[in-house]
């Protein structure tokens, strides 16, 4: 990102950077509102916040077209937003309202949106690995040039189905990228206690292109994602991208006392030294691509936008009880 020659190219780059910054802030502000809703007991069920991991979703999804596919996880709000979902319909879904993406039937862990290629978030760890691989199979058969990204947490490395589909993906040369977000902990257990051997070698053993990247650096994530997406789109097969990252909050919003599995100092270190938004903001200022005032303005604009989206969701009606059996076909 150092040699900027053509002015036109340069401005396109700056535009991309600012868009990525904005998207990361949008996710953080969205999640801040979720936290607020949850603590005020306005949100039913569980909420798994994505705060701290924003650079992964944004860096990867910025490398995708709107028609490309993603599958997401229980910690999926960031993926959905980065792929283009609108916050008001997401909040409505989180509150179980009819205006939500799934008419209130899915909730936080199941947001799906065909318009943005979102095949669905999934509450079963690794539950969407088959689905993402299947979407890539369709892309191959239909020759529509699409790519599928399968977001998984490192916890999904424990599921056998992942190895079955990676093998299939390589045999069929499918345009799928398994993006593994290693935020160090599954629920309350450090990944080193549940993951033997080398993670990347699990993918290279099947012949997948595999890489690891600093998941707190949106430019690094984006750069490598572009390369892997391009490679997949050209028919050169699947890839595995390991993004090293951290979740700032608990496993879910109710996970408050965390000292028995990770220290406050560790949390503090990631927040102050490795924050993807703060660090990228600083870098943008250094590049003269933004100034602190304009960045602060992005923050406040998005905060307002998210508040408005929350208000919309709170005011929206619940589905009628007679809708409970709608969409049941068997």
């Amino acid at each position: 990102m150092t040699t900027i020659t053509q002015p036109k190219e340069a401005s396109a780059k700056v535009e991309l950077w600012l868009r990525m910054y904005r998207q990361m802030v949008a996710i953080r502000q969205f999640e801040a509102q979720v936290n607020e809703l949850y603590t005020r007991a306005l949100m039913p069920g569980l909420a798994h916040l994505y705060i701290g991991e924003e650079a992964v979703a944004v860096g990867v999804c910025e490398a995708l077209e709107r028609t490309d596919y993603i599958t997401s996880t229980h910690r999926g709000h960031g993926h959905c937003l980065a792929k283009g979902a609108s916050p008001d319909k997401m909040f409505a879904e989180l509150l179980g309202k009819k205006a939500g993406y799934c008419k209130g039937k899915g909730g936080s862990m199941h947001i799906a949106d065909p318009a943005t290629g979102n095949l669905g978030a999934n509450a079963i760890v690794c539950g969407s690995a088959g689905i993402a691989t299947g979407a890539a199979f369709s892309a191959r058969q239909l020759k529509n040039g699409r790519v599928a990204v399968c977001f998984i947490g490192e916890g999904a490395l424990g599921q056998g189905v992942l190895y079955e589909v990676m093998n299939l993906a390589q045999l069929f040369k499918l345009p799928v990228i398994y993006v593994c977000e290693n935020n160090l902990y599954t629920e309350y257990t450090h990944y080193s206690e549940t993951t033997a051997g080398d993670i990347l070698m699990r993918a290279t053993a099947f012949g997948l292109e595999a890489a690891s990247v600093d998941g707190q650096d949106v430019l690094a994530v984006h750069g490598i994602a572009e390369r892997l997406v391009d490679r997949a789109r050209r028919g050169n097969g699947p890839a595995f991208l390991l993004c090293n990252t951290y979740r700032y909050h608990g496993h879910h919003v109710g996970d408050i006392n965390r000292e028995y599995y990770r220290s406050k100092q560790e949390e503090q270190m990631w927040k102050t030294e490795r924050d993807p938004i703060a660090n990228f903001g600083k870098w943008l200022v250094e590049q003269n691509a933004a100034d602190p005032t304009s960045l602060a303005q992005v923050q406040s604009e998005l905060e307002l936008e998210m508040k408005a989206a929350v208000d919309f969701a709170i005011a929206a009606p619940y589905p009628g009880v007679d809708e409970v059996a709608e969409d049941v076909y068997a």
């Binding site: 569980l46 179980g96 424990g158 599921q159 257990t189 549940t194 009880v321």
Partner: protein, 335 residues
């Protein structure tokens, strides 16, 4: 402690979760081959905090955190059980038993018979069930009927702290695979539990409330619903008997049939789906066994046939409630 009692006796009160923890701790003290494994069972003591304190007492070699590999560690438990251990596996949400199906259905359930009675699989799977926690379609199911369908598996659905402790201890001592379903909403419910060593034998139903006019056969979470409905019914002069089979298999058919013969009417309540479910099986037992004494067809009430919706007003109508049971009884009794 007589079986078929109306009131479990106990010298103190424990929560459902404490009763389960105590059963495990006592069996682990008694038998060094008992060990526990599952996701976040050790330091975290499970997300429901059911196992808190076991790691401290028994150490990492007997309370083992596993990767998120339900099929893998269940299979491991089958092999360990065949070769000298008594493993208890923890499947956090009952919805995830789908991932353990081959290990349980084709392996654990078959080994003893297929080997001509030579191998045994003394293992326990503990898992959960139950909706209304706003957890949506993949974390709210009650799939116990799936395992009830298979010869070679015993299935337990405790509904009180007393039963949970006694049945879990019996399950651990059993020589064959047992699946133990815990209602997530019940963990904080309190009830009397004796401090002395006791077990509740598998295959013995319990009459949770004596009545004359109708039999409510209820399992797990539905026992409290049935008891609540019975209280409402009392007010309009209908006396309901609540029978809890406690174990789906082995099944105490006699107690169910005798109760229905006495009252001449029966409703079966279970949180699983009605279609091909537990309610169908139990209704058929009563319809056949009490045929000449019934004054009305046996009615079934289970989960609505939908994936459990997230939205609270929708989720709430998918499971039987005191009120819906009350109404159903009135219709059945013509009152």
């Amino acid at each position: 402690m007589p079986e078929n009692s109306v009131q479990a006796q106990g010298d103190r009160e424990l929560t459902f979760a404490q009763a389960i923890r105590e059963a495990l701790a006592e069996e682990m003290r008694r038998d060094a081959t008992v060990c526990i494994m599952g996701e976040d069972v050790a330091e975290a003591g499970t997300p429901f905090k059911v196992l808190s304190g076991l790691l401290e007492e028994f150490g990492k070699d007997r309370v083992l955190d596993t990767p998120i590999s339900e099929a893998g560690f269940t299979g491991l438990a089958v092999g360990a059980a065949m070769t000298g251990m008594r493993p208890v596996v923890d499947i956090m949400f009952g919805d995830f038993i789908t991932l353990t199906m081959d290990q349980m259905v084709n392996q654990a359930a078959k080994v003893h018979y297929m080997s001509g009675g030579k191998w045994r699989v003394p293992m326990v799977m503990r898992t959960t069930m139950g909706a209304t926690r706003r957890s949506a379609a993949q974390h709210s199911q009650s799939l116990h009927a799936w395992y009830c369908h298979v010869p070679g598996l015993k299935v337990i659905l405790p509904s009180t702290p007393y039963d949970a402790k006694g049945l879990l201890k019996a399950a651990i001592r059993d020589e064959n695979p047992v699946v133990f379903f815990e209602d997530k909403m019940m963990y904080k419910v309190k009830g009397p539990v004796p401090s002395s060593d006791y077990t509740v034998p598998l295959g013995v139903a319990d009459i949770k409330r004596v009545g004359e006019d109708i039999t409510l056969v209820a399992t797990s979470s539905m026992v409290q619903v049935a008891l609540g409905a019975a209280t409402l019914l009392e007010e309009i002069g209908i006396s309901a008997e609540v029978v809890d089979p406690r174990t789906m298999w082995p099944l105490d058919e006699k107690t169910l049939i005798d109760s229905a013969k006495k009252t001449s009417r029966a409703i079966i309540l279970d949180e699983g789906y009605e279609r091909y479910g537990v309610t169908a099986e139990l209704a058929s037992v009563i319809a056949t066994g009490a045929f000449y004494d019934l004054d009305a067809p046996v009615k079934r009430m289970g989960a609505m046939h939908v994936p459990i919706p997230f939205s609270p007003p929708l989720e709430d109508v998918t499971v039987p409630t005191e009120q819906t049971v009350f109404e159903a009884v009135r219709v059945l009794c013509g009152r």
